[in-house]
Amino acid sequence: MNELANIGVGILAHGESASTCWSCGQMRAAHFCTSCGRVQPPAPADHFAFFGLSRKLNMDVARLERDFYELSRKLHPDLYGTAGSREQEWSLEQTSKLNDAYRTLKDPIARTRYLLHLEGVELEEQSKTATEKARSTGEMKKQIVPPDLLEDVFELNMQLEELRAQKKMGEDDPALMEEIGKQKLSLEGKQETLLNELRGYWNEWDAAAEGDERNKVRDKMVDLLNRRNYIRNLVRDVNDVLEN
């Protein structure tokens, strides 16, 4: 149960103003009262702050899971089945925040994207607007191909076209399938390499001071995520062709 106290303290330490429990009047943690255990009204907090964490990218995921379970045991709607409607509502809202935060933070890519979002970088939105625009105008979506992949991507797209055409005719070319399968493996390997590279940037980010130093790391991460995104879409295309 010491964990709980720690979460509480951590959150309080992270700039949340301490206040008192609506139910028992004791000092409370951000989400539930450390004294009587009741859920508290939700307060605005980003995903890191919800877990009482500072905005650092290196994360003890096992610890995060433990905290997630412990907080679930305090906040989940199932525990407020017989409570008043106000508490039920808070519990629902707090638990949805908890789940959203946990889902985002436990995944290395989602966590990085989220932190970049907090820093004002909208990766998703950029690509989404581009996608929508491409769809509505009927033009091919322009994606910046990472230069080092240019040659491979060109080759792969040709092969995919060929395979699609063959499949349409009901033909089968095991050699081509095998070649594409190999390319896919290599792309997946690249994804893995990029993830490792990203972990390296995490250390830089966590150690960097605010300002230029951080901005540099930030830009490197944005670039890396865009590349990774590109490869991920490519792998998805390959899977689509191979499976259909």
């Binding site: 199932d78 089945g81 809202e93 949805s96 789940n99």
Partner: protein, 633 residues
């Protein structure tokens, strides 16, 4: 605890059960026939009485046009969704049914929506529980297939309400099963639940950790189950009969019902025998007989049970697990008794499945465990907590008819997402949002959940309003939407048009209508109505006593009224409908003159410019006598 019993209900395609937590163990509550399983069969007999369960089964053959089974297949679905179903099941749709309307099924001359028919089953279970406890039961946890979408869940919740049950939680069937399993085994690890029931298939992968039941992924098919196996056998029999006897009985409801009964018996027999005899008495004294070997049977059902493979693979993939990493596979649902199904599961997960649970009962038992947790828990369920997921991604239609996913499948629920919207033209007051559920890229391939109209946006230049819309999937897997215009801070009004489903008003109406179909319920309704009327008349009398007219009554009149008033109050406490009615009538008579005097007062008050309200007319023209007689236009 005694006052607030919460039961757990498995509302199944083929059978339904009700269970509760007796001490440390969940137990099934039997019906008055002593049986745990209540067949999900509903019949409207010639006297317009509803019959449910075992006693309804014979009507499937005797009066197929007044009977319905497997109604769960139609829950939360629209006419265009069920074309396949209609080919295979004898559902009789209402003749005037329009596309886009909630389905209505004919039982005899009457029509009912799927939630109403499900409510009849729930009402039977409620009665069974009430008889068992000898106390009212008003709260329940009801299970649904994990792969049920929002509309199907909402329809199930509506069914609960129509049956007079407050549905505290919808729990996914495989998850419920895991609760019953975990209560028993109490060990940590990764568990896969393979649930092949009468009409639905689910697979869920869970992590059990010190009492936390965390669903990692789920997948399934809400139209795959034992029913499909029956249908294959029925079609073979029909073909045989057409070939051998030269008669087509496929349009003969009674014949098909007899064949269905026989093939189900054969199917069950083939789980324990290597060969079974199919024997059907057809109309006009003819007989259809044949032998079926288990090998033939397995060959026939292979394409059906193989449809469970892809969902299992997807669930494993979504969980990021290999079959070897699963510690135990738990079998749930009657169809997992089929040896070939067990072999298939064993091949897929590379281990012998756990068959220690009663596949018919375990879901209801798990629902009872969840009910106990919601009621505040007990020693047995202390520390148990279920963390479930949403089975399908939630999306919004964006430009070009594309689905923009905002909550991904297998997200732990409750889950939320926030989206921002703005206007396209100056002064635009409404924004339409189309909410979808499903995994496909294009909106037209996903399931339409609802269309929301954001209304009353303050007039601003195009693009200026910033409307924040919050989508929240609650612990039942049901979507809630709220919106706020951020510049004005105004809550935007949302008008919801569910793509499939009943409005609140429709549900309220059905709650009342449902009372008419069971004698017992009808009496209950009469009693409730009489009590309500008594309350109204007593309240009107109270007001009358405050009016000047009261002073003009003789003391004998006042005494008589007081006496009758007291006796009406007395009988209202009893359950005697006739006595309450009599009390109302006599009090009505005795207060006639008071009403007339009050009316005179009201008229003169009106003439002196007073309004009706000020004339203290109590409930107004629509209230029953003594004031109702005074008609003001």
């Amino acid at each position: 605890m005694a006052t607030d019993r919460i039961v757990g209900i498995d509302l199944g395609t083929t059978n339904s059960l009700v269970a509760y937590m007796q001490g440390d163990n969940p137990v099934v509550i039997p019906g008055d026939d002593g049986l745990n399983l209540v067949p999900s069969v509903v019949v409207l007999d010639e006297h317009d009485q509803i019959i449910v369960g075992n006693s309804a089964r014979r009507y499937l053959i005797e009066t197929p046009e007044r009977s319905v089974y497997s109604i769960k297949r139609l829950m939360g679905r629209g006419l265009e969704d069920i074309q396949e179903e209609l080919k295979l099941f004898p559902f009789r749709l209402a003749d005037d049914l329009q596309s886009g309307e909630v389905l209505r099924i004919k039982l005899g001359e009457k029509t009912f929506t799927p939630p109403e028919i499900s409510a009849f089953i729930l009402r039977q279970l409620k009665r069974n529980a009430e008889r068992f406890f000898n106390a009212p039961v008003t709260k329940a946890v009801i299970t649904v297939p994990a792969y049920f979408n929002d509309a199907q869940r909402q329809a199930t919740k509506d069914a609960g309400r129509i049956a007079g049950l407050e549905v505290l939680r919808l729990v996914n069937e495989p998850t419920a099963a895991s609760l019953a399993y975990g209560l028993d085994k109490k060990q940590n690890g990764i568990v896969a639940v393979y649930d092949l029931g009468g009409g639905t298939f689910d697979v869920s992968i869970l992590k059990l950790h010190d009492g936390i039941f965390e669903v990692i992924s789920t997948n399934g098919d809400t139209h795959l189950g034992g029913d499909d196996i029956d249908n294959v056998l029925i079609h073979i029999a029909l073909d045989d009969i057409r070939g051998d006897m030269g008669t087509d009985v496929s349009r003969n409801g009674e014949a098909v019902a007899r064949i269905r009964k026989a093939v189900i018996e054969t199917k069950i027999a083939l789980s324990s025998q290597v060969t079974a005899h199919l024997d059907v008495e057809l109309p006009e004294g003819r007989r259809y007989q044949r032998e079926i070997t288990r090998a033939q049977f397995e060959h026939l059902i292979q394409p059906i049970i193989e449809r469970t493979v892809a969902p299992c693979k997807q669930a494993l993939k979504d969980a990021g697990l290999k079959p070897e990493q699963i510690d135990e596979v738990v079998l749930v649902g009657g169809s997992t008794r089929i040896p070939r199904v067990r072999v298939l599961v064993e091949e897929m997960f590379k281990r012998t499945p756990h068959t220690g649970l009663n596949p018919d009962e375990v879901v209801a038992l798990g629902a009872a465990v969840q009910a106990n947790i919601l009621a505040g828990g007990s020693e047995a369920t202390e520390n148990m907590l279920l963390l479930d997921v949403t089975p399908l991604s939630l999306g919004i239609e964006v430009a070009g008819g594309v689905t923009d996913k905002i909550i991904l499948r297998n997200s732990t629920i409750p889950a939320s997402a926030t989206q921002h919207y703005t206007t396209q033209i100056d002064g635009q007051a409404n924004v339409a949002i189309h909410v979808l559920q499903g995994e496909r890229e294009l909106a037209k391939d996903c399931r339409s959940l609802a269309r929301f109209d954001l209304k009353g946006i303050p007039p601003m230049t195009a693009g200026m309003p910033r409307i924040e819309v919050k989508f929240l999937i609650d612990a039942n897997g049901i979507l809630h939407v709220s919106a706020r215009e951020q510049r004005s801070g105004k809550e935007a009004e949302i008008e919801v048009q569910p793509s499939y489903g009943l409005t609140d008003e429709q549900v309220e109406g059905m709650i009342l209508d449902s009372f008419d179909y069971a004698e017992e319920d009808f009496r209950q309704r009469q009693l409730i109505e009489a009590r309500n009327e008594a309350t109204t008349i007593l309240a009107a009398l109270e007001k009358g006593k405050q009016s000047p007219a009261w002073g003009r009554l003789t003391s004998a009149e006042k005494k008589q009224i007081a006496k009758l008033e007291n006796s009406l109050v007395e009988v209202t406490r009893e359950d005697d409908y006739a006595a309450i009615r009599k009390g109302i009538d006599t009090l009505n008579q005795a207060t006639m003159r008071l009403a007339e005097l009050m009316m005179d007062g009201a008229v003169s008050a009106a003439l002196t410019g007073k309004t009706m309200d000020e004339a203290d007319l109590g409930e107004g023209p629509s209230a029953p006598h003594p004031v109702a007689k005074a008609e003001f236009k």
